[in-house]
């Protein structure tokens, strides 16, 4: 086989023309070889395709079909009811609407704080301190814990009487500032958001840190020549160039805040009342506590469309960015 007949090269349109002779040559002499290669390529792709098609696409279709029935779990019959479950979701289920609202409020607070905090952390690390690796490690450590472990830690932090935060406040003489935290329906969402911020701001820091590191050196030198202060350098040169990093961070944090289940389930359980019920925990409760499998599927499918509405424009942006 000719070196220039490499399949990667052959896909490009110009090269295809240029090496037409070569292709024909291969086609004539190497039909058998091509066959062999095709079979090998298919063999390489098969495990991934079988698993992804089954676990993602077949299951999504299955879920979608279930959501159009009234199936109530094992043993029960499943009757087709059309969009009844979806209509119920939006017209006749206050808790669902509340969960959707809570999900959005939680995401809003979480992202609204995490993004600026991540940027601040990244800039502080970028200032070139000797202890940088130490602080980078400290900021990333919360990301290493499972949500089960962070839920455990923060339950202990938030306990109203014996909790670490309220005890700390009492010891330093700020006893009047103690809060009921997750045990109060007006503070549960905010308390959860603080846990999310604690766990994920290291991730935001990392993305921004990489974003800052990729600012062209000439721009920074130009700012230096113009006599810009450090503050000015960041505000006028570095931060305006962080749009891609910001989009990435916001979208990925949105994905996380939409799907995280464990952290809420193991701290507030959606309570008190329904004050911190989010879509992920409500879906679980409806499905596995109340055995409303069909209705649970409908919530799951709604969550699927919500995440696709976030992610597909993002992938389109990334793709354009990559090709531009």
């Amino acid at each position: 086989m000719y070196p220039s007949c490499h399949p990667v090269l052959l896909t490009s349109k110009n090269l295809r023309k240029q090496y037409k002779v070569c292709i024909e040559d291969v086609e004539r002499n190497g039909k058998l070889q091509n066959w062999k290669r095709t079979i090998q390529i298919i063999a390489f792709l098969t495990p991934a395709l079988v698993l992804v098609v089954t676990f993602v696409y077949v299951f999504l279709g299955w879920s979608g079909w279930l959501s159009l029935t009234d199936w109530k779990g094992l043993g029960g019959s499943a009757e087709f009811v059309g969009f009844k479950n979806y209509i119920k979701m939006f017209t006749n289920d206050r808790i669902f609407i509340k969960s959707l609202k809570n999900t959005l409020v939680l995401s809003g607070i979480f992202i609204g704080v995490t993004v600026p905090l991540g940027l601040l952390n990244a800039i502080l690390l970028d200032l070139g301190l000797k202890a940088r690796p130490l602080f980078r490690m400290i900021y990333l450590i919360p990301l290493s814990f499972s949500f089960v472990v962070s839920a455990t830690m923060w339950l202990w932090m938030y306990a109203p009487e014996s909790g670490a935060i309220n005890s700390l406040l009492r010891i330093i003489g700020l006893g009047s500032l103690t809060q009921p935290w997750i045990t109060s329906s007006s503070q549960s969402i905010l308390s959860l958001a603080i846990i999310y911020i604690w766990q994920f701001s290291g991730f935001a820091t990392l993305v921004y840190y990489a974003g800052i590191a990729s600012v062209p050196q000439q721009l920074l030198e130009a700012a230096l020549v113009d006599g810009a202060s450090t503050f000015r350098k960041y505000v006028s040169v570095v931060i305006p160039l962080q749009r891609p990093a910001t989009i990435t961070t916001v979208v990925l944090l949105l994905m996380y805040s939409l799907r995280v289940f464990d952290l809420v389930w193991l701290t507030t359980g959606g309570g008190p009342g329904y004050s911190s019920q989010i879509l992920a925990t409500y879906m679980w409760r409806v499905t596995f506590n109340r055995n409303q499998f069909a209705y649970g599927s409908a919530i799951g499918i709604f969550m699927f469309f919500l995440s696709m509405a976030i992610i597909i424009p993002f992938l389109a942006i990334v793709r354009r960015r990559g090709e531009a």
Binding site: F55, F135, L140, V149, M255
Partner: protein, 285 residues
């Protein structure tokens, strides 16, 4: 003492400018926010039942490991389950991801970028959207409540991200290397095992660590697919430590801390690889 303090002050003045000083103050204040819950967990886990009554901030008196031995009794089997599950699923999903990423990077055919998109989307599908069919499917296969179910699940849902990471890794490898191997008569398989695999060992480290930490920390799939200590992962066992006795916070914390040790060790020793994995999986497509 005072003399030493003065000397320290002078040293600080000479070496640390005001801006630097402010930076350190903010960094340390933020570090307190990140570290305090972790300190609190470890401190509580080392306390005896009596010491718990003195309040959460009181440092543990002496090195008391009773809570650890009690927690260990209860999470030993789930810990082993998690290890088997995470290691198997990490290896399987990394190898499959490498194979797929190699083909999608080296053999562009009609529809290959559509296929790539089709696989990647799997990473962004929330588990809640496929949870009910997943449970039913495992029941139909007869492996519900075994760790095979978890291995299969984590392998399948790991493939999108491993494929993405490997394709991004393979893309910049010069095609001249592949060509010369093909001239030497290497097949698709030959190119993969003789060139791509040896070159991709660093990628395996990044992807493997990324996958292992994600799978080890999972709770939702463990909760839905297993019942009882025979098959449940350590995260589920740790969450169950809570309900048993009211005052067993030290045991709960000890269990929680023990369950995080494998990933914590990886973070402490391979932070560079962790960072690479997080960035490869997020910044590039």
């Amino acid at each position: 003492m005072r003399k030493r303090k003065a000397a320290l002050g002078k040293w600080l003045q000479a070496h640390i400018s005001q801006q630097r000083y402010m930076t350190y103050v903010i960094l340390i204040a933020l570090s307190f926010f990140y570290l305090f819950p972790i300190y609190s967990m470890i401190n509580t886990s080392l306390k005896t039942a009596e010491e718990l009554a003195y309040g959460p901030l009181q440092p543990a008196g002496k090195l008391y490991l009773g809570a650890y031995s009690e927690a260990f009794q209860r999470i030993r089997k789930p810990f082993i389950n998690s290890a088997i599950m995470a290691i198997s699923a990490t290896i399987l999903s990394s190898v499959i991801g490498a194979m797929t990423g190699y083909i999608l990077s080296r053999y562009r055919f009609r529809g290959s970028s559509v296929l790539f998109f089709f696989i990647i989307i799997g990473f962004y599908v929330a588990p809640q959207s496929i949870l009910i069919p997943l449970v039913r499917f495992m029941g139909m296969l007869g492996i519900y409540n075994t760790y095979f179910a978890l291995i299969l699940t984590h392998t399948a849902y790991g493939i999108p991200i491993t494929t993405l990471l490997f394709r991004n890794y393979f893309d910049p490898i010069p095609s001249s290397l592949v060509e010369s191997a093909q001239i030497d008569g290497c097949s698709v398989m030959g190119v993969f095992t003789r060139i791509m695999l040896p070159l991709s060992l660093p990628a395996f480290a990044v992807v493997g660590i990324f996958q292992f930490t994600n799978i080890w920390n999972d709770y939702l799939y463990g909760l839905t697919l297993t019942q009882g200590v025979a098959s449940q992962p350590v995260t589920v066992a740790v969450a169950n430590l809570k309900g048993t006795t009211v005052a067993a916070w030290n045991v709960h914390m000890a269990g929680a801390f023990m369950s995080s040790i494998p990933v914590l060790v990886i973070y402490l020793f391979f932070l560079r690889l962790i960072i690479k994995g997080l960035l490869l999986g997020s910044v590039k497509e």
